[in-house]
Amino acid sequence: MDIGRFLLTSITTTALAFVVGMFYAGFRRKITARVQNRVGPPVYQNFIDVVKLWSKKSNITHGVMQHLAPLWQIATSITTLMFIPILVDSTFFVNLTFKGDLIFLLYLMVVGSLGMALGAGEGGNPNSAIGVTRGLTQMIGFEIPWVMALVALMIQHQTTTIVGLMDVQQASGTWLMFSSPFAFLAALLAMPGMFRYSPFDIVGAPAELASGPISEFGGKYLGTLMTNGSIFAFVKLVLYVDIFMGGATNLVLLVVKTFVLYMFPVLWGLVSPRFRTEQSVRFFWGWPLFFGLLGILQAAFL
């Protein structure tokens, strides 16, 4: 693999993720508005927000760690993106697909959170620290059913790579969400926690915590965080589509599948009030955990 081609594909992938993720965030705001009987902002509103944040004429930071915090996030998102197959058997979007596996992704996806936590901590704002502790606590909650789902799939199909799981779906002709429904349910229920959408948005609750961890971030830092947020949303959606919905053979199908999947946390969030931290952990350790156990039992004994 020569470096020029790799640069081309990786930049294309990142740009794709950025644009799609931004539009998804815009659609989320639009749908929220429509549900609340409003007109809502245009779907490209988030692009404008990012441009505005980057064109702020002054920025403040409290120190090195806060300066680096958005970078941890965005480096994590883009590296994760490189390890996820965008399309099935694509010769273009190869990136680093064959270089890592699911355990690596599981760990990589939390690096950004810890970096962000340190940056938020350096700000010295107690709201940030409270938000971070809530976020980390919630992470323990949703990671367990999510890992259970992945472990179930891995032991059933004797592979730990995403490509392997996609090949299984190609060979059997059915999606894993149908052949391993319990694992899928567990992973799906863990999804809103991963997105931190309502009802699991106590981490950055604006009214209680003054937007929590990001309360000291403004200007270009907030712009980077928003960019990262949309890329990371796309990463998570593609990961779910690849694992449970057989991946996508072309970009249109990918967009359709990810959008349908994205509607689940969005629409659930619209009709849900906010959980307290311990309530959300108890939620994740309730039914999702049960479905995860069923998934593992199915994988181990059927």
Partner: protein, 609 residues
């Protein structure tokens, strides 16, 4: 030169150091420094050779197996760094000669354990190590007597178990040679197998602080001086792991007793989860690290207990790595204690301003501890998970995952509570960065942690050699990629380089854009509803910060092993209270006892003989 001479030289040097400190502090420090430099210089240049001593008809054999030399490497590196670190750290304290003598004795004891090829000499050195570490635990004087007592009681239990095992093994196999014991182990009856191995495991498990036997560890790690705790928790506890690896792998895996391996693994998994939970709720950094050590040793026990090639490999890798990063973290705590005199989250905040280097090494060590990808901890975590998944330990993998996700909580607490957050001028006024002699050990170990993250092959080589002693021949390893039993691979170089490339790219962008108008402001200038913060207001939120999580898991947190032991000790106390009545102090009663005893003896002897 023979191996035994090194150990005797260390012991001799310890006594010389003690005398040197009697004469002059500077001279003593020179003695310490010389050992710190000579130890690795000698260790990494010599060629191993076996040596046998005959004492009272028993032949005691010494020599390194490649497995032992793996641990010896850790011991040597960590001890010499810790000795160097001690020189400035212990500078203001008294009874230095006593401290260093015991320090060196425990180093010599550890080397002796690793060199012993028979159980008797292993036991002797084990006791030297235990006693010297006990003397350092109670180094602070009377206020730590209780902690020392706890440590001593548990060590004594372990020692007696081990002694009993040695006697039994001697009876059953005819000698105490370790290799011959392993060779003859499959011929034992199953009861003998179980008894001997369990007794040995108790002995080793006490030192490695495995779940029911961990009670001594938080106190002992906390109360000894931090420069010694780096060795205590980093290397000395690995002696337990060393023994456990021998027992678990050589006895259980290769003798068709995998169920006992499972028991060890489950004990490790439960230790990992519960110790992590306890670590989360500590408000003293030393206690936090102590519980974290217990949890990390749990991972290693899991790796050794499962007993597949990858898992043992992961266990040994994690053992070495835990020694390194926990060594750094204890040194960081020591540095903070040295500069501020405080170790409680209530008293410390915002040290990054004055101690940036210490923060950096702590960050590196914490990332390694948490097992995050760019650094070396991830390699061990990856191998551990893959080994568990590929060997169908799918419930245990959840325990380990729960534990290592929960570990992020205390990792964040450690970094945030000490270094980040509100910077109090009043508190930071007199704080400065640690002296160079303390920086060097921390910095070098941190560098190695970074290097192993991308090139773990540097350390895989000795581990692979060590594996051959444990019966896994021809372990394949590559410089910077990992493979599991199903053939799925993980390439570290692309992953880490990609991460760093993106990081640097955005670092340049975010630094260059609007560079002139990016201002650094103090932590008192925060957005808190427009209320200006006065200097006396402390908004640092670092005590009891995981209250919501505590509410979730409070059902399990109620039951502590301590309570169990407390009940036992209370029961024993009452038992002896009862016995005290026998000693009534009345001559006639004693006369009666003598008569009863003699009668009983007569009856017994007539029935037996």
């Amino acid at each position: 030169m023979s191996n035994l001479v090194i150990i005797l030289a260390i012991f001799g040097w310890a006594i010389l150091t003690y005398l040197a400190f009697k004469i002059n502090k500077t001279l003593g420090n020179v003695f310490v420094g010389v050992l710190a430099l000579a130890l690795p210089a000698y260790f990494f240049t010599y060629t191993p050779s076996d040596y046998t001593v005959s004492v009272m008809g028993m032949s005691l054999q010494f020599g390194f197996t490649s497995f032992a030399s793996l641990f010896a490497m850790l011991v040597v590196v960590l001890s010499s760094f810790a000795l160097l670190y001690s020189i400035p750290y212990m500078n203001k304290k008294d009874r230095l000669g006593w401290f260093y003598m015991n320090f060196m004795f425990s180093v010599g004891g550890m080397m002796g354990i690793l060199m012993s090829k028979d159980l008797v000499s292993l036991f002797i050195f084990w006791e030297i190590m235990t006693w010297s570490s006990y003397l350092i635990v109670i180094y602070q004087g009377k206020k730590v007597n209780k902690v020392g007592l706890k440590y001593m009681i548990f060590s004594a239990i372990g020692a007696y178990a081990m002694l009993m095992a040695i006697v039994l093994i001697n009876k059953w196999s005819g000698n105490v040679n370790i290799e011959q014991f392993f060779a003859s182990f499959p011929n034992y009856s199953s009861a003998a197998k179980l008894l001997s191995s369990l007794l040995l495991l108790t002995g080793f498990g006490v030192k490695s602080a495995l779940m029911p036997l961990h009670v001594w560890a938080p106190g002992a790690y906390t109360k000894s001086p931090m420069s010694y705790t780096a060795v205590f928790s980093g290397a000395l506890s690995k002696m337990g792991i060393y023994g456990m690896a021998l027992v678990a792998v050589n006895l259980y895996v290769h003798s068709n007793m995998p169920i006992m391996g499972e028991v060890i693994a489950w004990a490790g998994a439960i230790t990992a989860v519960l110790a992590t939970f306890w670590a989360i709720f500590q408000n003293d950094i030393r206690k936090l690290l102590a519980y974290s050590s217990i949890g990390q040793l749990g991972y290693i026990a899991v790796g050794l207990g499962i007993g597949t090639e990858l898992s043992v490999f992961a266990g040994l890798y994690l053992a070495i790595l835990h020694g390194l990063f926990k060594g750094v973290l204890w040194m960081v705590v020591g540095a903070i204690e040295h500069r501020t005199g405080k170790t409680d989250f209530r008293d410390i905040s915002g040290l990054i301003k004055k101690m940036p280097f210490t923060f950096f090494v702590a960050l590196v060590a914490i990332i390694a501890l948490a097992g995050m990808p760019p650094l070396s901890g991830f390699v061990g975590k990856w191998m551990l998970y893959e080994s568990m998944i590929t060997s169908n330990h799918f419930i245990m993998v959840l325990f380990i995952f729960l534990s290592s996700t929960a570990a992020f909580l205390y990792c964040f607490h450690f970094l945030y509570g000490l270094f980040l957050g509100q910077q109090e001028d009043e508190f930071l006024k007199d704080v400065k960065e640690v002296p160079v002699l303390m920086m060097i050990p921390m910095g070098l170990i941190s560098l190695s942690l970074i290097a192993f993250g991308t090139f773990p092959g540097l350390i895989f080589k000795p581990i692979a050699q060590a594996m051959s002693t444990l019966g896994f021949e021809n372990v394949t390893w590559r410089m910077s990629s990992l493979t599991n039993a199903w053939g799925n691979s993980m390439f570290l170089k692309p992953a880490n380089f990609m991460f760093m490339a993106v990081f640097v790219f955005f670092l340049i962008i975010i630094t260059v854009v609007n560079h002139k108008k990016t201002k650094k402001v103090g932590t008192k200038d925060i957005a808190n509803g427009g209320e200006p913060i006065r200097d006396e207001d402390n908004l640092h939120y670092s005590v009891d910060i995981y209250r919501p999580f505590y509410r979730v898991i409070s059902p399990i947190m109620k039951y502590k092993v301590e309570t169990f032991y407390k009940r036992i000790s209370k029961g024993i106390e009452e038992f002896f209270q009862f016995f005290r009545r026998i000693y009534s102090g009345n001559g006639q009663t004693y006369a009666l006892y003598v008569v009863i005893f003699l009668t009983a003896l007569l009856i017994l002897s007539s029935t037996i003989f």
